[in-house]
């Protein structure tokens, strides 16, 4: 069914090699991640749902808390976090996992990074879909503010693109950078208001809001998706600024170091 749906989209895209190229790169990426296993694509859904059930049990049943619609509160934050984490992991290994292409064919480096991101975007779309399914069981009013969602997601994608451009280079220079990145994302995870109220950040730790580029996106996603209010435009502007600065840095660093990195691969 999914395959039909995808083919349907492809059929109506204009015949454009550049679009197709990025499309097929991200499709192969996605297939490699999910299709080899027996449950296949279902893993893309099971993984976040499983984590959600565990966290729900811990943070709602064991530690009681008073957040309304807690499962959706968690899920809306989790959507964004999953994309960030998966995409940055993907970004980390971009160069090594696409070596066979880089060395044998003329290819725009940026295409590889973009397609890696897109393959993660597919997974996000599945997750948003299951979010909507779950939200049917709750009394949620969606408002027109939901139209901000694509803007927030593109903010995250820009951020991730910039990060990938940088960390993929570092991970070749320093082979054990991956371990460091694991620790870093773990710390960052808990600095995001996924399980606890975002008011804590607003009231006592405002600095985190400004230093952690993901927190604001999570808060705003929740605003437009769950609360049906407009995003915090202050935060949105800051996050966009951060993402663009990181992207520019990433482009500069990547351009300078990519050829050097290839030699020590």
């Amino acid at each position: 069914m999914l395959k039909k749906f995808l083919n349907y989209i492809v059929k109506y895209l204009p015949e454009n090699n550049k679009v197709e190229r990025i499309w097929i790169l991200s499709k192969s990426n996605f297939r490699k991640r999910y299709y080899g296993s027996s449950l296949g694509i279902i893993w893309a859904l099971i993984n976040p749902l499983f984590l959600l059930v565990i966290y729900y049990f811990i943070f709602n049943v064991i530690f009681l808390n008073e957040i309304e619609n807690f499962i959706l509160y968690m899920f809306s934050g989790f959507l964004i976090w999953m994309l960030f984490e998966e995409a940055s992991k993907e970004g980390l290994n971009t160069i090594t996992s696409n070596r066979y292409l880089i060395e044998n064919i003329r290819i725009k480096k940026l295409d590889i990074y973009i397609s890696g991101l897109l393959s993660k975007l597919f997974a996000l779309i599945f997750n948003i879909f299951s979010y909507f399914l779950i939200s049917l069981f709750f009394n949620i009013q969606y408002s027109a503010n939901i139209l901000f969602l694509p803007i927030l997601i593109s903010n995250l994608l820009i951020l991730n693109l910039g990060i990938s451009l940088i960390i993929s280079i570092i991970s070749v220079y320093l082979k054990d950078f991956n371990h460091f990145w694991d620790l870093f994302t773990l710390a960052l995870f808990w600095l995001n208001p996924i399980f606890y109220s975002e008011l804590i950040l607003y009231q006592s730790y405002r600095i985190i809001l400004y230093l952690n580029p993901v927190a604001g996106i999570i808060i705003n996603t929740r605003n437009v998706l769950l609360n049906g209010v407009s995003p915090d435009f202050n935060l949105l502007a800051i996050n966009f600024g951060q993402a663009i600065i990181i992207l520019i840095l990433g482009l500069i660093i990547n351009k300078k170091h990519f050829p050097k990195v290839i030699e020590i691969l």
Partner: protein
């Protein structure tokens, strides 16, 4: 033969910097922060100037470690030459080496689509050519199996078929035909090579197989320890190479 230069190298040298110590971890970098390391410089290519014209079948020979593969990597712009060097390659190229070029986790079909798309073909065109490619490679039964299960012969047949049909303008071939396919397949690929010269496609061919060089190439470069010794017709260069070997 036409007179368009498709690959040109000017003053191309390539020096590799190799550190004695393995510094490629955070731990080692921190641990060795005050210790200086021995750095070796290896001059893999020394001042190479050459022009390859459209339709040339250009051979590169030399002893092991003379920089043939490095030269190919510089041509395909995987490696950047030292400062002052200049590499221009016009057109779509595909590098054919044994053991690389395809993703083992993808099926033959997916790999064909991926590679052909990267070479600039639209899906529609690939769809039209797909059957031809698969038949040429004699892999009809294995369209949907993962490439990692392929034998090396199947693998290189597939790579060759993609290269031929996916309309690459330039083939960079590194030791590719040491026994690719049986006699029948060799005849087919030989024919393609002869045709490709007529069609104005360009081939750069690195090999130790001197017979293949003699049969196909119209120009040959002899490399020795990264230095270009001679660029000339196959007969003259092979004579020089044999003298060098003694």
């Amino acid at each position: 033969m036409k007179d368009n230069t498709v690959i040109s190298l000017k003053n191309v040298s390539k020096t590799f910097k190799i550190k004695d110590r393995n510094d490629y971890t955070i731990r080692n970098t921190v641990a060795n922060i005050f210790r200086s390391s021995n750095i070796h410089y290896i001059e893999a290519l020394k001042n190479i100037n050459l022009e390859i014209k459209e339709g040339d079948f250009f051979g590169i020979i030399g002893r092991n470690g003379s920089g043939k593969s490095t030269l190919l990597k510089v041509m395909s712009q995987v490696y950047q030459p030292n400062k002052g060097g200049c590499v221009d390659i016009l057109g779509k190229y595909l590098k054919l080496t044994l053991g690389t070029g395809f993703d083992g986790e993808l099926t033959a079909k997916e790999n064909i689509y991926l590679n052909a798309s990267l070479l600039g073909l639209t899906f529609k065109r690939i769809g039209n050519k797909f059957q031809e490619i698969i038949e040429f490679a004699e892999l009809e039964e294995f369209v949907n199996s993962k490439v990692k299960y392929f034998s090396s012969g199947m693998y290189s047949r597939l790579a060759f078929a993609v290269a031929v049909h996916a309309e690459a303008d330039i083939f960079l071939i590194d030791e590719f035909f040491g026994g690719v396919g049986d006699e029948k397949f060799r005849q087919k690929s030989d024919k393609v090579f002869r045709d490709s010269i007529l069609k104005g496609k360009t081939v750069v061919f690195v090999s130790h197989d001197l017979n293949a060089i003699k049969e196909n190439c119209n120009k040959v470069l002899l490399l020795n320890f990264g230095e270009p010794i001679l660029i000339d017709t196959p007969e003259k260069v092979l004579k020089e190479y044999n003298r060098l070997l003694k």
